[in-house]
Symmetry: C2
Subunit: 321 residues, 2 copies
Amino acid sequence: MSEVLYVVGHKNPDTDSICSAIAFAYLWNEWKKKGILAQMKMPELEAVPVRQGEPNAETKFVLEKFGFSVPEMMTDGAGKKVALVDHSDVVQSVDNFAQAEVVAVVDHHKIGDVATPNPICFVNLPVGCSATTLKFLFDKTGVEIPKNIAGIMLSAILSDTVIFKSATTTPMDKTAGEELAKIAGVEDLTKLGIEVKSKLSDVSGMAVRDIIMRDYKDYNMSGKKVGAGQIEVIDLSLIEGRKDEIYNELVKMKQEGGYHSIVFMLTDIMKEGTELFVVTDEPALIEKAFGKKIEGKGMWLDGVMSRKKQVIPPLEKAFAG
Amino acid sequence: MSEVLYVVGHKNPDTDSICSAIAFAYLWNEWKKKGILAQMKMPELEAVPVRQGEPNAETKFVLEKFGFSVPEMMTDGAGKKVALVDHSDVVQSVDNFAQAEVVAVVDHHKIGDVATPNPICFVNLPVGCSATTLKFLFDKTGVEIPKNIAGIMLSAILSDTVIFKSATTTPMDKTAGEELAKIAGVEDLTKLGIEVKSKLSDVSGMAVRDIIMRDYKDYNMSGKKVGAGQIEVIDLSLIEGRKDEIYNELVKMKQEGGYHSIVFMLTDIMKEGTELFVVTDEPALIEKAFGKKIEGKGMWLDGVMSRKKQVIPPLEKAFAG
Ligand SMILES: [Mn+2]
Ligand SMILES: [Mn+2]
């Protein structure tokens, strides 16, 4: 039996990291059969998808819907040959990274600090999802995409691009999504997208602190401690009943953590906007940042969906004076 | 006028670094016209090829043969947007690299330490030449290769792969070369290859120390200082008249530099072998490394063309005992 190539996404995996690992492992094995590995003298390994952590509810739904079992867990890279998908940063990669041999990288992020001692296949496109980069590679190397693989690739794109609404979405993601939908026999992309994204929208069973901390970061803004969290839901009515609880928890966190301000984004995917909860020592500063008055728990920001691109920059500017 | 993207190869440029800069600049501008940049939301810059150093005699010949002028010199990256070809190591890249913005990378080497703050297009294939990676990108994005661009891409491949004889050559380089030859109207690839490679074979006007130092490196082998240089010529008869002079200079260098050993590879491209000059404190050790006796100035090593792959490893093993 030939040696194994472990195809692995980043730590704390999302749907793209797990589905693109499955898709790239399939593609690699097709490259082997078709002699494409040989054309570039790449090692003729047998690729197997793995994961570095528990799949979330969204990913479990996607795998089940398209008939895949959850890949095996693999966190230690020591002595293994690996292909990375959806990341090129050592800190996000397998443990004992220095003792792993990286054979290939397929990604869509900024270029990280993965360096190699030998030439490898490294393809990163500045698109919204690793599965879009993979779609390019399938097409351009003449490998047909099986129906179920198309289904999980499409789901990864819908997930990463928030149903083509995120600021990171490119026309190439849309084209890839439409073509994959045809192959997968998915007639209504938006319907599938809503189904996929709604899996993480259900917070009914979650403790309030877990809802807030699922995606939360601290920032230092001109010497002031600022916290910023986000939850994306398919429809804000889904968390209507938790809003008071969330707001009160933010007030508590602000006191306990010595924050100047905490903002928390309740992003409505379908309405394409964010209800921004604000607890702060200087309401006027936050109002200046977004050009809106705080009413009740905060403000509605139409068209705002990205913390990185649409919330942090105006805040930093306002704090800088 | 739109902003400029400087497409640049590595420092101390070879034919691939300069020809692939010209070819990628052309490809980028076609991507702009065809809307391919827009598909990935890449910046719609006007690409211009530049170089970080003097073209060597081989590169000058290639540019002239296919009707290109020498690209402008550009060594300082500060405040500029750049696309890198034929390298992804900061040390080989433009000065003030930290103040440059890297927009794309096309390469065929090991992955270096170039990291970026944003997602970019980064395509590295484990093939023999950057122009082979570019041929893949031209074909797969549906851009026709003009006749003269095909000529310099073909020349870069013939140069980097030593007319398809180097250990780094892949079947993909050969296929790319053959297809480019058709476009360029080159009937005899080997003839063009010999013409290209012979330009650096002419050492008649060079000082002996310059011949030796053109490609020379120091190594520490189990605590012993070892030097290893190489000259590749199309036919060893071209340097027949300089052999005594070269050998005597090596003897001098060994004394002056406190070396345990110096080996110097006189590689015959067409015969696919190397005459290895040896000056050493322990002839038996070098003989053990290559399983051959030293006769006269050294030994003939059939099939040996790569210092990195075929000379340094057996030496290191012998020195390690
Ligand atoms: Mn992703
Ligand atoms: Mn090269």
